[in-house]
């Protein structure tokens, strides 16, 4: 790791922020992936 900022472990507050940030982008992505899988299965069933 090259950065000072990332060498010290994140404070508990920041851990919540990290979790929130990943949920923020993860939920829509999971929705997109779910729709994709639904459509892709048509290749084997359609």
């Amino acid at each position: 790791m090259s950065s000072d900022s990332s060498q010290s472990p994140p404070s508990p507050d920041r851990r919540w922020l990290i979790a929130l940030a990943w949920v923020w982008v993860g939920v829509p992505l999971a929705y997109g992936l779910y729709e994709l899988v639904r459509k892709a299965t048509q290749l084997f069933t359609g």
Partner: protein, 444 residues
Amino acid sequence: MSPPVAPPGWSRWLVPPAALSVHLSIGQAYAWSVFKPPLESALGLSGTQSALPFQLGIVMLGLSAAFGGTLVERNGPRWAMTVALICFSSGFLLSALGASLEQYWLIVLGYGFVGGIGLGIGYISPVSTLIKWFPDRPGMATGIAIMGFGGGALIASPWSAQMLESFGGDSTGIALAFLVHGLSYAVFMLLGVLLVRVPRHVPGAGGTARQAPTGPQVSAKQAIRTPQFWLLWLVLCMNVTAGIGILEKAAPMITDFFADTSTPVSVTAAAGFVALLSAANMAGRIGWSSTSDLIGRKNIYRVYLGVGSLMYALIALFGDSSKPLFILCALVILSFYGGGFATVPAYLKDLFGTYQVGAIHGRLLTAWSTAGVLGPLIVNWIADRQEEAGRHGASLYGLSFVIMIGLLVVGFVANELVRPVDPRHHVPAPKEAARVERQQSESA
């Protein structure tokens, strides 16, 4: 605007979601086709006309990435993400106004021109910052962001379709859908603007001359004067052309290939095949790009281009005799297509350093614009000529595949010719720079 420097204890794992919030939004561009049928019926447009906002958007993406890269480096990622948010979001708002007034030129101007600037600046906005935060895993870091661009269409496509179904496909419904898109994306991208930070001890992360990163550093202006830049340009262009060649005509291609067999492919199954290709494209972005951190950038491009041409050869020779083989080869090719996009920023970093890697990446994206024209042109033109000559089925695509193999071989050779950049192109170290400056002022 000075770049936002990370406070002590700031985690670098906050930067990828910041980048994703921008890339997942601007990736919506590839779901534009959802708006085409309602626009055509509501405003009486032809297919060519309804494609115009998307086409202008992609042109503006290339131009703004190429010409705005230096500004992004100078002003930092928060500035770039703010510009991307304002442009992309107001592009939708202008389009909403255009749809409600039934003034199509406003949609072209809004989504295509203004929104397109947001696409280009947004695409390159996190690249340089991610590489600086993850010098140990630059391929993985940029892979996450660029995977987001692919993911954006996966989210927007069903979301926009559902919205149009709820609001209706008339001009009022379309206007309302554009309005909701503009506002939602503004809120979603705001996370990136608020979270993005440059690492503390790389003071030049915003592009100032004070930075002291390790390894050779080359400015964007100087990079385009090196053979390495143009060789990589060729590598990217060939790899993308080969991928688009399949992506562009995936549905009719699989239908044509197995039309004369005992197991023809239905329209629904062909749509499933296209979806599977999108998944391979996305998986390749994160998977292959992360692998490049382990085996090296030159080696991974050897795989993309070498194995890619082998996959095309397998499809051309045996594709119509085995459906699983056809599908497998197409999936591998598409994963290499995505991987090629996602690995290139790390390759640029290896060759030119982190000094202005975002700006250099922006200039390299003109290869994407070129491939975006070349790939579909080759496959469509040849398929049309073959059809006119009375051919059908797999033989419509044979010649296209041979051309794709040739292009991949050209890319492979270009990759082999890539060598470290000559030190005369490097940015002088601070002390050396001061000495050169002094000498120049004395001799002036």
